[in-house]
């Protein structure tokens, strides 16, 4: 193991951090925004409303993200009408394709997490909102959503970490984020240990920063004394078709 190479490649790979962060955070935000209305539809008692959303989350959680990315990046070009539309400028670009794939994937997971959070809001909270005369939209915005979000915060951390790691797949469509840069560097130097380990150190740094950041947020928002640190800092992998 060449320690000097390890250090220099850590520095080199650090230039991939911004792209990794942009991909992960942007798709996290888009996924979150999409998931809120979807989760309410999914939590609806009306089958005709909840089933289409279930179909979406089932397919996106039941297939590998890599396939989803390739369908968007390579596959959509096969459709003539997309090729000839304005959309093509966006859909031929690996960055936008990655963003789209990650966002849709994240929205599917977050929708299911949120649905659980919505269903876990104590009925009494909604009773009180109704009794005071709130409209259904006000009940959702001011009462159900904030309570649900606080409830799912611990599991939402898993989604953040999962997406941070999943952003490494962007390297398969030529993007030079941390993993992409490291693959390029390895092909030039053929020193896989030092370089991939350097990349691993960067990811580990990012995931721990986000984990502890969310812990702090949790403590502040949930207004609770700091929890006993879990034996392992990093949360468990995101839950698949759990419910």
């Amino acid at each position: 193991m060449d320690v000097e190479l390890l250090l220099t490649s850590t520095m080199t790979l650090a230039s991939g951090i911004p792209l990794t962060l942009i991909l992960a955070l942007a798709s996290l935000v888009i996924g979150l925004v999409l998931s809120v209305p979807l989760a309410f539809l999914r939590a609806s008692g009306n089958r005709w409303v909840s089933l289409p959303v279930l179909a979406y989350t089932y397919v996106f959680r039941g297939t590998p993200l890599l396939v989803q990315l390739f369908i968007i990046y390579y596959g959509l070009g096969q459709i003539d009408f997309i090729r000839s539309s304005v959309l093509w400028h966006v859909l031929r670009d690996p960055f936008w394709c990655s963003l789209l794939a990650f966002s849709l994937n994240s929205a599917a997971y977050t929708t299911e997490v949120f649905r659980g959070g919505i269903l876990a809001v104590p009925p009494g909270m909604i009773d009180a909102a109704q009794a005071i005369g709130m409209t259904p939209l006000q009940q959702k915005r001011k009462i159900i959503l904030p309570i649900a979000f606080r409830g799912i915060l611990p599991s939402y951390v898993n989604e953040v970490i999962a997406l941070l790691k999943a952003s490494s797949l962007a390297s398969t469509v030529t993007l030079l984020e941390i993993t992409g840069l490291s693959r390029k560097l390895v092909s030039e130097t053929f020193a896989p240990y030092e370089i991939f380990i350097a990349a691993g150190i960067l990811y580990l740094g990012l995931t721990s920063v986000f984990t502890s950041g969310f812990r702090m947020l949790e403590t502040r928002w949930l207004n609770a004394p700091p929890k006993q640190a879990a034996p392992d800092g990093i949360a468990v992998k995101r839950v698949a078709h759990g419910s």
């Binding site: 009773d127 009180a128 909102a129 005071i132 009462i143 904030p146 309570i147 606080r150 609770a224």
Partner: protein
Amino acid sequence: MRAAMASSLPESQIAPAAGGVQARGIEKRLGNIEVLRGVNLDVAAGEILAILGSSGSGKSTFLRCVNLLTLPDQGDIWVHGEHLRLRPVSEDDSAPRILDHDQVRRVRASIGMVFQSFNLWPHMTALENVSAGPVLVNRLTRKAAAELGRRYLAKVGLSDKAGSYPRHLSGGQQQRVAIARALAMEPKLLLFDEPTSALDPELVGEVLRVMTALAGEGRTMMIVTHEVAFAREVSSRAAFMHQGRIEEEGSSREFFSNPASPGLRRFLAAHDERHS
């Protein structure tokens, strides 16, 4: 059929000017259980009605029917002289429906409700809990609502807890905030659904004191409670529910000192035993 339901009692029999609440023929089935089997009950403006009954008698369900948190399957309700527009269950629809959501929201906003389990919103401070309704429903400015909120928190003796979150308050304090939340809507009617049942015995007193003070202000109140002594002290009228029906009702004096029905006599006797 529906028309027949709504006009089962001619509107002329209810004087709209009377205010208060009139309920006629309220029926409710939850699952396989007939919780309410035709409840008729009136509360005049300014009256304080205590509703007693063993658990499962349907008294809480009835109270929830007044502001339509639970929709009655059959029957008619007038609140402040206004007939609530509902569609009862029928052969082609197994669930009752609200026909006029605006009316229901308007009526709900004019009725304050205090719950057994407080139901404070955990993500809001005491003051935010109290002023949320005035801002969102009554469209007050934030400043005016906060002022109003402080006034009502002071009224329940919790001025110093304005910035506290519910989880940092005792049960008694939470229930007092919940009462302030109901008052801040400046309602014409207050509903209390077993407001002390979830409290530790030593915390019951502070909540009952606040409620007694409210009773002295000439408010219209419906109180579902197990606190017989308290009900006797504050109510002007009382009703006893048993198996989904009103078994006895009357002025408080008659009701408590001279109960007519065997059921109520048993209920009051059992209560005396427990508390002697």
